[in-house]
Symmetry: C2
Subunit: 143 residues, 2 copies
DNA sequence: AGTCTGCTTGACGTGAACGTAAAGGTGAGG
DNA sequence: CCTCACCTTTACGTTCACGTCAAGCAGACT
């Protein structure tokens, strides 16, 4: 009994479950919150905003590997400055394989816009890094 | 009279003044707002927050070249995700040449932290670009 | 003199992204 | 049975970065 059941007792759920015997690992909200250094409030908020859709056992949320990967995507999107609405749109584009042609073309256009904006942003970052490094060298010389 | 005086009539002030005869060019708030595609409200807000300190003629703000360069810096900082408080701190570091040693060392530390955070951010951007490009290629194949 | 345009200072409103109680359900352990 | 730790929803509060009137002054054109 100790190893197989999806017990979700505190001892089991505290660490990301090790998936004994090929069972899909399942994460609690606090598992993911700790792993990604966000609060559980944030995860519930993302669900309200349609970014995550974990399963439920009763009222308790159960996050799959897919949810975990999705969360990683969300947080990286956030890190590059996307709004949550942006992220939801991008995730929606990724997901369904809606093979209707105009949909695909729209997705292609939006993606390319994003890419070019990100390249501009990277240029701004490079310039800022360069200036800060120059500033550092100036200080180092004064010491 | 037509060419030399710093008249600031509408016709003169509408375009960034051409600085006839080595006179420092001066910009009005709408000059800079238009040039950088922000609102005048934004410029006043940045002044309230201590990011800009334009001169005054009466109550009217007069922006110098230095103010213009400073604004460019602010907006690039904003573009890379800095908060206005972050930007103010960085500008304060740059400015005075306060050659007290502990100040310099603190500035050096903060700068290096910023640099490393920016490099992380750039890595996130590169990864996102790569994924979006892959996504684009996938779509293109379906067409 | 009157009007127009642009600049000024408050002061309140807004959207995004959560924070922070409040109030309650649920299962494991003593 | 009771407590404890963790989960839930509901709902109001907060910070940031401005937007949006409101009311008024100041110089230029008619």
């Amino acid at each position: 009994m100790g190893t197989g059941g999806l017990s979700l007792s505190r001892d089991d759920a505290a660490q990301p479950p090790a998936a004994a015997d090929g069972v899909e690992p399942v994460f609690t909200i606090t598992d993911l919150a700790r792993e990604f250094a966000v609060t559980s409030r944030t995860l519930r908020f993302y669900e309200d905003e349609g970014l995550l859709h974990p399963l439920r056992r009763g009222t308790t949320r159960l996050y799959s590997r897919g949810d975990r990967a999705r969360l990683a995507w969300i947080l990286r999107g956030r890190a590059v400055g996307f709004s949550l609405a942006d992220i939801r749109d991008l995730l929606d584009m990724y997901a369904p394989g809606k093979a209707r042609r105009p949909q695909l073309e729209a997705a292609l256009g939006k993606s390319r816009e994003r890419i070019s904006a990100l390249m501009d942003q990277r240029a701004a970052i490079d310039a800022t890094i360069a200036e800060l490094e120059h500033f550092c060298r100036t200080i180092e010389q004064k010491l």
